[in-house]
Structures are given as C-alpha cells and as structure tokens.
Symmetry: C2
C-alpha cells in the first residue's frame, strides 16, 4: 500500500465492507472513524466494531510513514489518545485516510482486517484521554439566562457575559468513563439562604448536557492561540455529563464558583469524534442581535463556526429498566445554538498565556436552547422542581433519584451525508455512602 492509495473518509459516497457502518441510523459510518480505547489499547471505531491500532500496526496494515514513525508506534501501544493527538497534523490525516482505506468497500485489506475487528461495545473503564486540566464554560445564552434568573432574579445575565466566554476550572481527577456509577455526594446544604447548613446527601442531584472537546495542539506558557488558528488546535469532541448537586452548589458557590457541587464526577462519552469528521457540519452560530456588544478582536473568528450537533437526554428509573420500558426523552437541543464557539473558548483560555496541553478537556457548559424541551439540565427543565417531568413508569422527577440512569446522545445529520454520531454517555445514580 502506498500513501497515494489512501482514501478520503470525508467523501460522502464512501461505503464500508463493515455492514454495520452503513446503517443510516447508525453513529459510526466510515466518514466518522472516532478514536477511543478498548481492552487497554487505542482503537478506531467503525459501525459496531473497532480496530486496535497496535493490531493494525502488528499486521502491517499501515503505510510505511506511520509504521516507521516511533511516535506513532508509541502512541499505538498506549491506552489513551494523548499520543495520537500528539502526532503531527499530516500524520493524523494520513492515519485517518489509511484507516478509511482499510474499511472501504472493496478494500484489498478486508480479509486481514476482518480477523482483527473486536466488539466496540465492550465497556471501557477509563476516559479516552489522560486529562491534565479540565475547564468548564458557560457558553449557552439560554442556560446562563435561565439559571441566572433563578439564582439572581434581579440580575440574571451579568454585564460581562456577552463580552467574556465565562468559564471555570473543573476537576480532572473525577472525570470518569461512560458507565461509571455516580455515588450521590454528601455536602453542606441549607434550608434558608443564610444557613445554618447541615451535612448530608445531596437532595437535588442533576445532570448537565454538554459537549466537550480535547486539545490536540497546545501553547507554551506566555504564548497564545490566535482565534483564527484555534479550531485547528482541537483534536476532537465528546459528550459530557457535568453532574451537579444543586443544593450544595447554591450554598458554596459564592464568591469563588462551583466546587464540591461538581467535582464528585464528570462523565465523558468513550468515542472521540475528530474535528475532521465534524467539518461537514460547521454552521454559523446564532446571529448577534443589534443590541449585543461587538466581539473583541481576539475573539472575533472570521470563520466563526458552531457545530450542528443534535443532543438528547434520556432518563430511566431502575423500575423502568427492570420492566424493559424505554427511557424517557427529557431534553433535545442543538449545539449550534451556543453563543460562544469552541474556537472562541479555546482562544480565550490561552489569551493570557495559560498553557493548554494535549488532552486537556474543555466543555461547553449546559447546552440549552430557546424552547422548554431544549433545556439541558433538570434545574431548567423542571424550572427548579416546579414543573416535574413524567417518566415512563408513571413517576415524576424534579431531580434525579437513586437508580436513575441518564443517557446522553448526540449526532450530526444533513441531506446527502451519512449521520456522524457520538454514541452514548451513560451513568446510573448510586445511593449515597452510608
């Protein structure tokens, strides 16, 4: 195989000999090829299957420029995606086209590859990247306005919000793989605004529907990432559930922001959809209104791109799962509605010289749209519990109960192009420790 034989996976007509990849309702056509880790190794997903990169390397299925590259050899033998993200952009592109070549209908490599495919649904118990630092933004105008109106009725959207992509540091050590059980956290909560607090299990446990992205190219301390280059510094995207204990948050968050209300767990989906796979779905963000301030130059992206990702949250109680009932669709929105784009978040983060590192996770904050159905957390969706949601088993939810499973899904679609999906981001609420 020569470098010239490599196949462009972004060709919408391309099909795979892996039959499950051609399912029009599936998330993982040959145009997607997201990376994750499986059985302790870096892998690429195609349909219901996956191929470990070290197996592809060992079976001599890759072009010489990859096979002979020591950085790639190392990356293929690790259990996290950091090494892949660290490859030169040309090598990443070559790898993606090489993998498409292997999976393309009519590929001469089919027989050799088929023997190496493994079941992609096997659970992984680690996040796909070693995350050095995790930052959570607050980039949805609708979310910020809704939550602001509950916590600060007289002052819902603060004067800085439309100027600054507001964000705060999260906790990297509590980022967990999809499927990890979420122990209901203890914390200080109050019944009146000024206390006194009691310490016990959170009663107002919530999810937050977010989109995350991993940094693929960073910057040195004191340097920056110019806005026009920021998109190309992103390796890929995932779904994020930023679990939140609203009662703990309300009491602790002033003046330095959320802390224990958030850092007990943050779930990420296992398959990282590359920037390249999402490029067919870039759209202009919502237009700024005439009243909105002009964006400052360091955030003014000439290519200003949101990603049009449809997002869903489904909730099931333990009883529903026992009875085989389908989970209840609780929220559906789109990432295209965000006020601040991923490139703006990244350029802002590095604008003071803060070093961004390969594998750092940046998340968008809750994705909420204009409609009630598109609100991305229960706090908003039930309007602080005043409008409970009916689940499929006849019970109601203001906030999450023990045994509830939250499933997030996301996908991109448009006419004439295969659907590019993220798979699922799952977590079941476990009882507080005794």
């Amino acid at each position: 195989m020569t470098v010239n034989q490599l196949v462009d996976p972004n060709d919408p007509a391309l099909r795979s000999w892996v039959e499950s990849a051609n399912d029009p309702a599936g998330d993982f056509p040959i145009q997607n090829l997201p990376y994750g880790t499986l059985d302790g190794g870096v892998a690429v997903r195609i349909g219901a299957k996956a191929l470990r990169l070290r197996d592809a390397l060992d079976a001599d299925l890759l072009v010489r420029k990859l096979t002979d590259n020591e950085d790639f050899q190392y990356a293929a033998h690790t259990a996290w995606l950091n090494g892949i993200a660290e490859l030169e952009p040309e090598q990443q592109s070559m790898l993606r086209r090489n993998l498409a070549h292997l999976f393309a209908a009519g590929s001469p490599a089919k027989a050799k590859v088929e023997r190496l495919l493994i079941d992609a649904e096997s659970p992984t118990d680690e996040p796909p990247f070693v995350v050095g630092d995790y930052t959570d933004f607050y980039a949805s105008l609708h979310h910020a306005t809704n939550v602001g109106s509950m916590f600060r009725p007289n002052n819902p959207l603060l004067p800085n919000w439309k100027h600054v992509p507001i964000g705060y540091h999260g906790r990297a050590s509590s980022i967990v793989a999809s499927g990890t059980g979420i122990v209901r956290p203890h914390g200080q909560t109050v019944s009146s605004d000024d206390g006194p607090p009691a310490f016990g299990p959170s009663k107002l446990l919530d999810y937050e529907l977010e989109v995350g992205f991993f940094v693929g190219r960073g910057n040195q301390l004191g340097a920056t990432i110019p806005i026009a280059e920021a998109w190309s510094h992103i390796f890929g995207f995932c779904l994020v559930n930023d679990w939140s204990a609203r009662d703990i948050q309300k009491w602790e968050y002033q003046p330095l922001g959320p802390f224990l209300a958030k850092n007990f767990a943050t779930t990420v989906s296992p398959w990282v959809v590359t920037r390249e796979a999402l490029e067919p779905f870039l759209v202009a963000g919502p237009p700024r209104s005439a009243d909105d301030p002009k964006v400052l130059a360091y955030l003014d992206d000439p290519n200003g791109r949101n990603v049009d990702i449809t997002l869903e949250v489904l909730v099931s109680s333990a009883a529903m799962r026992d009875k085989g009932l389908a989970p209840t669709l609780v929220s559906r929105g789109s990432f295209r509605d965000m006020f601040w784009t991923p490139a703006q978040m990244l350029a802002h983060h590095a604008s003071n010289g803060c070093p961004m590192m390969i594998g750092d996770l940046l998340a968008s904050g809750t994705v909420s749209g204009t409609t009630k159905e598109s609100r991305g957390c229960l706090l908003e969706r039930t309007w602080r519990g005043t409008e409970p949601i009916a689940l499929g088993d006849g019970t109601e939810r203001k906030f999450l109960q023990d045994g509830d499973e939250v499933v997030m899904r996301g996908w991109c679609e448009r006419a004439g192009y295969p659907r590019i999906g993220f798979g699922e981001c799952r977590g079941i609420v476990l009882p507080a420790r005794a």
Copy 2:
C-alpha cells in the same frame, strides 16, 4: 548499616557534619531534610547542599529494605517527587531516618556521602511534583474580610464562609518553578463596572502569599478522607505565589469565580518540607469566637492543627537589583493565623467523594493577619492602591511593575529547636508580550 542504626531527625540536639546545615539562621538543618528535584533527579537538601537519591542508591548508602524495593528504585530515578510520596508510610519514615543517619555528625558514611553532594542552589526549571489537580482555598478570615469589603462593601464576609472552607479549582498546567519569569498577562478589563471592556495587558498585577501542600495519600472516587486522618494524608508543604491580575479578576469573576486572572502562572518553592519536619511546630489555630458557628462534625478535627510558619514577602525593582540594594520587606505574617487548617481543607475537598491524587497541590489562599504589615497581597497591603508602599529605591508601588521581583520566604522557629525553613519562592515580572 542496619535498620536499627537509623537516626531520628526530629531529635533537636542532632547536628550534621555538613557545616552549612548547622547555621542557626539557615533553613535546612538535619531536622528538615526537604525533598526537591535537582539536575533531573529527586534529591534531599541539607544546608547548602543536596544529595540525589539515585546517587545514594548507586553508592549503596541505603538500608536493604529501601535498596531492594522496586518502588523506591523507580522513585529514586525519576525527576519528580510523586514516586517518593507513593511509598508506604513506613518506607518514607525509613528513608528520612536513613538520610539523617548519612548526614549526622560522626556518621561513618561521611566520606562516601561527601563526594556525592551537589550545590543545592542550582536552578531547577520544573515544579517538584507532577501536579494532577491544583485547588486554591480562601482560608484566611482576614484576607476574606479585607477583599470582600473591597469587592462587596455591603457584604464582605458571605454567610457560608465560616461554615465551608471555600475553595476553587486552579490550573495545574501553569504551576511553575521558582525563578520562572512571569509574563504580564493580557485580558479584558473595564473602566466602569458594567463595561465595555478593552483587551490589553493587566495594569493591576499582584502576588498572593500562600502556603501549599502536596497530597501524599489520596482516596478513591466516592470514598472520603476522614478529618482525623487528613493530616497523615499530606506529604509536605511549600510556599506558593498565586499571581493575580486584579483588573481581569474584577471583570471576569462573577458568577463562576477567578479564571484567567489567576491561571497565567502560579509559582511554587522548590523544596517540599515534609509533614514530619513540621510536626514540632503544630499549634492550635485562633480560637473561634462565641459568635462563630460550631464546626460541622466532618470538619471537626480533635487534633486541630495549624502550622506556625512565619512568612515574608520582599519586593525589589530592577533598579534596586542593579544597584545592589536589598529588597524591601513588604509583608510579614504567620500561617498560624488561618481560620481553616490544612487537614480541614483536605477533608472538605474529599467529603463529596472527589478523588484526591498523590501530588495534587492544595494552597491556602492568601495568608493575612490582623495587622496591616501581615496582609499577604498588594490589593490588601496598599488597600486597593490607596496606600502605596515605598520601595528601597524611592519609588512607590500600588501594584507590580515590569522588572519587579517578588521573593517569598517562610520558616518555623521555637526555643530549643533548629529553625526549619522553606527557602525562597521567586519570580520576576516580565513585560507583556507585544
């Protein structure tokens, strides 16, 4: 050498054959033995000298129980302290007593050890630990009250403050070694409270005098660190300069806390003073007043211990250093004045099941006392610039100027015991990038 020959470094009468270790004004007597990294290797400091642990290992200067231990062999050959902190407590204790044996006056190992000693002042360009997550607290009542009265005149100390050890996540990637130049950050700042903002170099650059501690034993996701055990989970302490851009902070910090105002750089001192070395200096914290709320059980430490560390900040301009003038003492306070103790910060952090990892850095927040001289940042020390400080070259400072060097020092002393010091935490302000 047998295990029985090991020497207790906490014996106050113990002296070293390394003459500089016996200087009563020095920071590093044989009772201290802090760890750091030097020339790419883990090292222990004694007086003006240091011994790399891999050199001690290669020269067969350590007891068999260490030499034969694979974890120790690995730890001794790395460039960070994480491996040392990961050793079993008994092994850490054995290592400390073994090193004291090597350095003790009259040690039969003197001739072999002396050949291996290196100059401890050689600069290191990496922090001593690989820090997974960094958390900054806000544990000084005086600091919180002073700053609160400036940012929220009607509401200086929020109702949660005396109940919750308030903290927030910092940025691990911008933790830098002492001596690293600090580039003045760009950011959004406003001239009136509601904007509009301009983007440019911070004009109100500040230091914050803090004490940090590294986690030596962590907890699993969903588990906790009980308050009575929290002290023993700490590996050791350092000085921290939490550089802060006050004008950026003021505009960005609501509602999610400080972000770009802080994450451009955080300097740590190079030598990590172990918990064991500080135990002779544990004191009761300031008594809670009759009006103070009773501390909740999960934070109620029967051994409630502050550490009595005297802390100083010195500032010099470039002109002062050119002329050979001594730096100006700007602040002197004590860590004993903190409202929340290190054990309380750590127990609180893990109380919701957040996993603490070996090498995580927790910092105290600015250490300020009751007097003007003990205020630990310029914001407080100059009362927002209204009471400038005179430097030794006749100039004044409201905030830091380019070329200013900030030096922090800390030490413990009491009658009948050698002084245990931290050395210095240094940084020079560099001009904003063009």
